[in-house]
Amino acid sequence: MTGPRLINDLDQIAADWVARQDRGMTDKDEHELRDWRQQDDRHEGAYMRAQAAWVLLDRARALPATEMVVVRHNRMNRRFMLTAGAGMAAAGAGLVFGVPYLTHKRYSSGLGEIRRVPLSDGSSVTLNTLSRVRVRMTPLERSLVLESGEALFEVAKDSARPFTVLAGSVKVQAVGTAFNIIRAYDAIDVMITEGTVDVWDEAYPDLKTMRAKAGDLLTLSEGRVRLSQSLPEAQFNRLAWRSGQIIMDGEPLLQAVQRFNRFNKRTLRIDPRIADLKVVGNFKAQDPEGFAEAISAAFDLRVQSSKTEIVLRPS
């Protein structure tokens, strides 16, 4: 056996049987396996466990193709990359009409989940908590729709295929750049971290297309646009969610609370009288309790917590 012999040899024997069974068994094999399984309860247990692990892997087929197949760090040789690519196309399309195998794909993240989705063109989308994006890749365009939430788009250069993101009626087009879009209930924020993008609102054709560059933060709401500049450090803080953090640098407490609540089932509530307290600190997005403790200690607040919420009040 080429595998390392460690821990428990029954597992190796069980794995051998499952691999053999998957290849195809002779009558003699069937007999041997039956005997081995009946010899000892541990044999039967190891066999069923191995079989379960094997069928568990069938779920990999439910994964979006891009997540599993584009493995750049892998040291596959070129020839194999080509064949694997061709195989994917055939398997994915399953159709004869030359339909690109990646037509519409949807990716979403759950509560508190941060998910990075590599796209087939080398770009990537990182989804913040409770966000949803739809991706369409064709030979002519790369068009994405941010259906809800917040996402950072890192775009691979490909001038032949424009990369656009639609959020509500707001469209952002980029070539070789990175930007973050937030779809809040009443506004759409576009923060550009690299390069330049064009932004327009399809619901308001009178509004001119705006060219925005790294450092710009555009807030679009009902046909109105607000442009502000953000320092690289502020941008970094704003993107701290990618590592599961919330970084505050003097923003009001209310804003911190809103950010936490996007991540957690257990919600933070604050008395309006303390909404404007300035918060500074680096917090774990999934630890509202820790945040409440730190804040209450700093500002001498009263904390009341129940299963579903944590309430902060002046004491």
């Binding site: 428990n8 247990g45 069923m48 957690n264």
Partner: protein, 199 residues
Amino acid sequence: MTNDLMKARWIAQHILPHEGDVRAWIRRSLRSIEVDDLIQETYCRIARLPDHGAVQNGRAYFFATAKNVAIDLNRRARVVRMDALAELEMGEMPDDAPSPERATAGRHELRRVAGLIENLPGRCQTIFKLHKIEGLTQREIAKRLGLSENVVEKQVSRGLRLILASLENSQTDPATAKLSEINLADPKLNDRPQTHKRS
């Protein structure tokens, strides 16, 4: 055969994801028991259950069965210390933890599966992807990669063995744990005396 497959599917879905937790619990509560033996016997007992549909909560069932097996092993072998079993009665059974992580279990499960395959070494990983994602048979894989079927079968077995090892340690986010790290960190790599013998 098909019956086995149905059972395997059920176990994959309802039992396997909790193995890391059950093992951790056994290690905490029953220091002197041979964990692998206990786990294998537990799987055997679960597989022999005639009607899996009756099991409401796979996780709780897994914990309860492991506990019963521990009691039986003790009876048979008389090596597990009695006070260890007393601890087991007292010890907290973490079988009901509706955490936010559980809420998104389906997706975690998918990513975990992806992680299991991603962490396999080079050629093994390629074979698993061709098999499990593209649906090629071992024979087709051998043809495509220019390998003999024996080599493919051995790689399948080797990869499955590595995956079985990483499932032992899977607790919160196995997708991030690399197999090599798991292997090095596994306490069972250190020699440990057998704690009991079968009669």
